[in-house]
């Protein structure tokens, strides 16, 4: 019986071009448009000219020579062998100038937004967003300060072309971040921490960024594939609920009851239909996104698990919407779900943009809303997190599903004399 109920729903949707457009074509178009249009902003994309900062590094310091000289100096000192080894290790592990330049040239994230030119000659005004001058003797003085606590007279100077521009701000942020790393190195040296090991762990300068990006990056296409799927799956639910109410209006539901099918079986049919339709929809959308935009999840099993959970949530949503429409005897319920509730849930959940950027209450609300919990779970799976990292979202999805089914059951409780 359920097979025929599901088959009927699939045939009805398949033969209604409008429904197909809404449920399949529209989310895919939105993934394409949003992924392309907002990709540059989300990913700091290469075509984002507004975020292209040009940095000229006026390098007057020879850090390699300074490092070698410092090591020779330590070797020639009267320090104990152990102290010598520790200091040499510290000096060897820290070359602030080389590390900074290396980071600018090698870090993928920075390369997208900063173009670096290194020279020892003065540049023309207006060609660069900012000019960083590394004076002669900087590295030598840095080692003296780091190991001997001597004051430094040689400092980096940064001049921005336009202090209000975004690119200048980005460059200043990068330099401040680097300055903090150097302060950390200095503190570590004061505390006699073995920086050769610490630095490996933290990969100084932008090591913290590196540790974050150990997980797979979520680009705009991946984000919007997930966001749109998490949103449009609820349109399957409201469509199925709308069909269900239409069956009551047009007497098909009564005909089904007259075939000795209980209302609960009918609603179970709605659940099964919504489950399978949303299952098909999600796999088609994610499949297309994988083939065309390379949105591939890190773990298929975890992706499948989250998808099944989302199918359960969508099916529960369909049952609740249908039960509410039956109880109120109003066609406007599925319409209201489609036109108002789903867009709100999608907004709160972050289908349109990542609400975690706002932070605070909205972030928490989004994370544990039906759409938000799903998006978070999918993103974590996409990035390669462990199943244990999404237990909160799994619980939230199951909790919502349970609440919706309980609500539907309460609505379906037979009112005296009613057809339900």
């Amino acid at each position: 019986m359920f097979f025929h109920m599901v088959k009927k729903e699939i045939l009805m949707i398949w033969r209604r071009p409008r429904e197909l457009v809404v449920l399949l074509l529209m989310p895919f178009i939105l993934i394409t448009i949003l992924g392309s249009a907002l990709g540059a902003i989300m990913d700091g994309g290469e075509d984002s000219s507004s975020l292209q900062a040009k940095l000229l590094v006026l390098l007057k310091d020879d850090s390699v020579k300074a490092q070698q000289e410092k090591i020779s100096e330590i070797n020639g000192s009267s320090l104990s062998l152990e102290e010598k080894q520790l200091k040499i290790a510290t000096v060897s592990s820290i070359d602030p100038v080389a590390a900074f330049i290396n980071e600018l040239q090698e870090n993928k994230e920075l390369k997208k937004i900063v173009t670096v030119t290194i020279t020892d000659k003065e540049a023309k005004k207006g060609e660069y967003s900012g000019i960083l001058t590394i004076p002669s003797g900087f590295t030598e003085q840095f080692y003296h300060k780091l190991l001997d606590g001597k004051e430094m007279s040689a400092t980096w100077s940064f001049k921005e072309e336009d202090s209000t521009s975004l690119s200048a701000t980005v460059l200043k942020d990068i330099l401040e971040s680097y300055q903090q790393e150097l302060s950390y190195a200095k503190t570590a040296a004061d505390l006699n921490i073995d920086l050769s090991q610490e630095s490996q762990r933290n990969e100084p300068v932008f090591g913290s960024m590196e540790s974050i990006t150990k997980k797979k990056e979520v680009d705009a296409f991946a984000y919007y594939a997930i966001g749109m799927c998490a949103m449009f799956v609820f349109y399957v639910a409201s469509t199925v609920a709308g069909f269900a109410f239409q069956q009551k209006e047009d007497y098909m539901y009564q005909r089904i009851l007259l075939a000795n099918v209980s209302p609960y079986t009918f609603f179970l049919g709605i659940f099964v239909s919504a489950f399978f339709l949303s299952f098909i929809q999600l796999h088609l959308l994610f499949g297309l996104s994988a083939v065309i935009y390379g949105v591939v999840f890190s773990s298929f099993i975890q992706y499948f698990l989250v998808t099944i959970l989302l199918n359960i949530l969508a099916a529960s949503f369909a049952v609740f919407a249908a039960a509410l429409a039956f109880r109120t005897d109003s066609r406007s319920v599925p319409t209201l779900f489609t036109n108002l509730l789903i867009p709100i849930l999608a907004f709160i959940g972050g289908s349109y943009f990542d609400l975690s950027a706002i932070g605070g209450f909205m972030e928490k609300l989004g994370e544990y809303s039906p759409v938000g919990a799903t998006i978070t779970a999918y993103i974590k799976v996409y990035q390669g997190y462990n199943i244990l990292d999404i237990t909160g979202q799994i619980e939230a999805i199951l909790l919502f599903s349970g609440a919706l089914l309980l609500g539907a059951f309460a609505l379906l409780m037979r009112k005296r004399g009613a057809i339900i």
């Binding site: 019986m1 209604r16 098909m252 005909r255 009851l257 007259l258 000795n260 004399g417």
Partner: protein, 310 residues
């Protein structure tokens, strides 16, 4: 076979159906007549176990179906007023779907679907989507779905509404054949008196939620056995003329259908002279006058004060 005892239904303060009694014997076709809002559809919903009555009982083979409607539903087919079909499915898919809801085994169902398609005359259109059908074809399929599980009783709620005469005749012939050849019991409601006259041996007339008359066609017509119907066919209706006719003594009822005025008067009264006199006075051109025994329509009008299609 099926008996309705003192059936009533009240929605809040409004009593929609009030103490309705009726019965269906196996193999007979019974008509349920009444104007809009008479309570026919509510009565049918209660008889078919879709709506719980406020009071009264529905009995199948002397057993109440209110608590256990399954037995009745197994042998009951309902043809609703609505086109209760899936428009995006084909005729065959609709029949198979509802057959599956009735849990008919697949092999048996295929044979039964073919039989039903034959009965309703849609075999050559079985693979077409219902949304491409004409109104008459949809109505025929609507009946077909009610027949899919080979019911013993069929309740038809105005099954010919809004269709062309040809489709209407097909449906009437189908219902008659089902009754005569397959001995299916039929409860038929309609706005069309001639349909009920053609199909039914017994008739119930409902108005304001109550059965106001019942019996065989002849018994119903005998309600007006002491009366005569005079049909005056005139060229053009003139209201002063109509009003003067209405004021004539012994005119129990007057109705107008296009350019025909029908008067119901006691059989012994002679009124022709007065009619012609008034026609002359008001310069009304009388084309024809005939005197008939009152029809069911006249009886209905007499009983309810309304036409069946009001």
């Amino acid at each position: 076979m099926l008996e309705v005892i003192d059936l009533s239904k009240q929605f809040k303060q409004t009593k929609v159906v009030n103490s309705v009694n009726l019965y269906l014997e196996k193999g007979e076709t019974v008509g349920l007549l009444g104007p809009n809002g008479a309570g026919k559809s509510t009565t049918i919903s209660m008889i078919s176990s879709l709506l719980k009555p406020s009071s009264g009982d529905v009995r199948l083979h002397n057993e109440s179906i209110l608590r256990t409607p399954e037995k009745l539903r197994k042998i009951l087919g309902v043809v609703p007023q609505e086109i209760a079909l899936y428009m995006e499915l084909t005729a065959r898919e609709n029949l198979v779907f509802f057959g599956k809801m009735h849990r008919i085994p697949t092999k048996l169902l295929q044979t039964r679907v073919d039989e039903v398609l034959d009965i309703i005359g849609l075999k050559d259109r079985q693979k077409d989507l219902v949304k491409t059908f004409s109104g008459g074809m949809k109505r025929r399929l609507n009946i077909g779905v009610a027949l899919i599980h080979s019911p013993e009783i069929i309740i038809m709620d105005e099954p010919t509404v809004g269709i062309d005469p040809q489709s209407r005749n097909h449906i009437l012939e189908t219902v008659k054949r089902l009754n005569e050849e397959q001995n299916i019991t039929v409860l038929y409601t309609s706005h069309y008196m001639e349909e009920v006259e053609f199909l039914c041996k017994r008739i119930y007339i409902m108005d304001h939620g109550e059965v106001i008359a019942s019996g065989s066609k002849e018994e119903i017509k005998n309600i007006l056995s002491a009366e005569t119907a005079i049909n005056i066919h005139i060229e053009m209706i003139k209201h002063p003329f109509v009003e003067r006719l209405r004021d004539l003594p012994n005119v129990q009822h007057l109705s107008i259908n296009q350019t025909t005025i029908t008067l119901i008067i006691p059989r012994e009264v002679q009124l022709l002279k007065d009619i012609f006199r008034l026609a002359e006075e008001h310069q009304v051109n009388v084309l024809a006058v005939n005197i008939e025994t009152p029809s069911l329509e006249d009886v209905f009008l007499h009983l309810t004060g309304r036409k069946l299609r009001d």
